[in-house]
Subunit: 310 residues, 2 copies
Amino acid sequence: MEPVSLPPQSRVALCGGTHGNEMSGVYLVRELQKLEKVGSATLTTVISNPRAVQMCKRYTDVDLNRCFTDAILSSPVTDATPYEVRRAQELNTLLGPKGSAGAMDLVCDLHNTTANMGLSLISYSAQDWVILHIYRQIQRKITSAPVRFILLDLPLADAYSQDSLGKHGFSIEVGPQPHGVVRADIFNIMKEAVDQTLDWVQCFNSGSAFEGGEVDDVYTFVKSIDYPRDPETNQITAAIHPQLQDRDFCLLHPGDPMFLMFSGEIVKYEGVEVLHPYFVNECAYYEKSIAFHLARKMTLTIPPLRVKRD
Amino acid sequence: MEPVSLPPQSRVALCGGTHGNEMSGVYLVRELQKLEKVGSATLTTVISNPRAVQMCKRYTDVDLNRCFTDAILSSPVTDATPYEVRRAQELNTLLGPKGSAGAMDLVCDLHNTTANMGLSLISYSAQDWVILHIYRQIQRKITSAPVRFILLDLPLADAYSQDSLGKHGFSIEVGPQPHGVVRADIFNIMKEAVDQTLDWVQCFNSGSAFEGGEVDDVYTFVKSIDYPRDPETNQITAAIHPQLQDRDFCLLHPGDPMFLMFSGEIVKYEGVEVLHPYFVNECAYYEKSIAFHLARKMTLTIPPLRVKRD
């Protein structure tokens, strides 16, 4: 592929506490607040949902990390507007406006999951060379956890998460860690990923050339699977089967066990396509009726990249 | 020791959801609600804090499992009385009254922890032969997790947890499991413990004789350790050190690492006595300023036991 030149990443935002009970990002952002500048980039650190952090809850009214669509960001504010919608509009002013020339060059939002997902980068475009080069550096440099890329195939207007405010943006998702808890091992993996991101930005801005080539372990969303439920009460009647629990990104074949009913029976996967489960038994997805997502694995090719000189 | 005869355990209560986000007990009690009688015993199943279960929170106003002292159970109810205090008094009517002849013979309360504690029984007396014989059966029969006994040395009037409502009572604590999540492996360990408890009751009531002898892996509380905190903001400044995380009930020696500061330094254990940490990094104890408890290990001796015939 042809080499590509892009402008420097001068204004970088690192955000934690978008979900107020995902503690690694909260504590890491508080540490990073002691910095002001990282080499050639100006660093903005944000506790995204301070009310939820204060209460150690995912959110107060609605899930903040679903509030960054164009529709919600431009909705009129009334007395009935949920706190998180107002906060999303504030963050859009601070880090965006989304899609504008004034937006942050790079927004990185820090998350935890109760699923055994290791370290995942989540972003919206298969053609954002900045994000994919950062991912490749993180994957090459970090050996303490598996590193993967989750591609959400949505147009920018419908992109719902906070990282979509930047010209480039991604979430860092690290697990397993119970919500409301901080584990040193998970904190350290997240810190390594942030350090590698800032290192990449510094090298890029300084003029380093990055080789093109293949990008592995990219996963695209196919569909979600809910827990079995009682048809009358809607209550869950099964747990993730032990053969699937903690096996995020492994292959799920037709006939493989998915759920163990509380009464003892096994529920098997009846799909026809071999797919990769992820966000398996994520705490916050119970209320969203999601036991896990299923993904297809792919490889992307990216061009050589360097900074555009003025 | 001299053999002991005790009355049959005719009225047994199994309680879940005392903490509304500890899911194994909630789902297990819902399964058990399909039973009515277990051999010779009448089974009462209780979702202890239905409001908290509904919200998937530990509690709504105050921690229900600290509300079963004589003082709180006899406190007058006003408009300002927290929900959980009123609920504790209801439960005292249903399962107690605490300390009375009308109380349940056996109360078993089901809990989860985010700590890597395996299966623990928690109770108040080193001389409750019923509980200690049940513990010994569970320890002998269950091999899927380590099994231990935590002895809280308090007089009945000050015993604060729900299991203290019964003539005999204990909590079953299983982990690690994130709050708000149900894992099949943890659910199955709890179910095994309940099945063994009910099996023991059935054998005891039917006239089986139980041998006396030594009871191992009994732990008594010594003291609690808090996380390092910023003296101005009171915010936590460290996580449990990776060498201590998930090592519940292992030995902590003077000089062993306890905490890893977010800034990178190590905080070591400076006590003089070698002790056993437990409830290491329990989610719900952050607000109680407890990073972990420390215990001393002991062995108890119990007498042979059988049912007293009328």
